[in-house]
Symmetry: C2
Subunit: 110 residues, 2 copies
DNA sequence: AAAATTCATCGCATTATTACGATTATAAAA
DNA sequence: TTTTATAATCGTAATAATGCGATGAATTTT
C-alpha cells in the first residue's frame, strides 16, 4: 500500500490538500515569510536566513514551486523567487471557503 | 537524517505547519466537510461516506484530533466527532495572518 | 581560459505517511 | 452470558518526506 487514493476525492479537495501540504513544514512557512518580507524577489539569501543547508532549502523551494505558491525567475547565475499571487489567492479562497462553510452552518454540538 | 528541525523555527510557524499538515490529505479534507455538513457530530458514518477502510479513516481521525482540529466524545459504543471551533478559529487566523501579510505588503515583482 | 559563484540534482540514510487486514477493547443487544 | 456492533490499535508493506554532502550545469568574475 502506501499510496494516496487521490482519484477517490474531488479535484478541489486534492488541490486544497496540495496547497496545505506545501504549508505543512515550518521551513516552508519561514521561506514564504522571507519572500513576503523581501517583496523584491530575493533568491539564495534564503539559505543565509535559515538554519538549513543549501540543498535542503532548494528542495523546499522546489516543493513550494510544484504546489504553485511561488515562482522562480532565472537572472543570470542567480534565481529570483517570489510569491505567485494568483495561486496564493486561490489557496486563500479554497481555505476560506472550507472554513467559512463551518462558521456559516454552525450550531455547535459536543 | 530525516528529522525535521522544529526547534529551529518559531512556535507559531510550527503550529501553522501542524494545522496545514492536518489539512494536507484529501481524505482529511473530506472528513472535515462531512463533519461540517452533519453539524450534529456524527461518527462512524464517515466510514460509509468515504472509499477507505475503517482503520484508515480511524487513523485520519486521529491525525485531525492530534492537530486539534476536531474532538471526539464517547457515546456508548460509538464515538461522536465534531469540529473544535476554538482551534479551527486559531488555524484560520494563523493562515489569514500569513496570507494577508502578503496582500498588505504587496508591490509585485517578477 | 581559469576560478568562483549560484543553484539544482543525485545518492544516501533515516523517519514519516498511507492503507489495509487482523486483532483488541468496550459497550449494546440478544 | 453470548453475540453483535463500534472504533482504536497493531502489524505489515509500500511510498513519501527530511536533511545533507557531493556532484553538475550554468553564469560571472578574474
Amino acid at each position: 500500500m502506501g499510496l494516496t487514493k487521490s482519484e477517490e476525492f474531488t479535484v478541489k479537495d486534492n488541490k486544497l490538500a496540495k496547497y496545505a501540504k506545501a504549508l505543512s513544514h515550518p521551513a516552508r512557512i519561514a521561506i514564504l515569510r522571507i519572500l513576503i518580507k523581501r517583496q523584491s524577489c530575493i533568491c539564495g539569501d534564503i539559505v543565509e536566513e535559515l538554519p538549513l543547508s543549501q540543498s535542503t532549502v532548494s528542495q523546499h523551494l522546489k516543493e513550494l514551486k510544484d504546489a504553485g505558491l511561488i515562482k522562480g525567475e532565472i537572472e543570470g547565475a542567480k534565481v529570483c523567487y517570489c510569491i505567485d499571487e494568483t495561486e496564493l489567492n486561490q489557496a486563500k479562497s479554497y481555505i476560506d471557503e472550507l472554513f467559512s462553510s463551518y462558521f456559516l452552518s454552525k450550531t455547535s454540538c459536543c
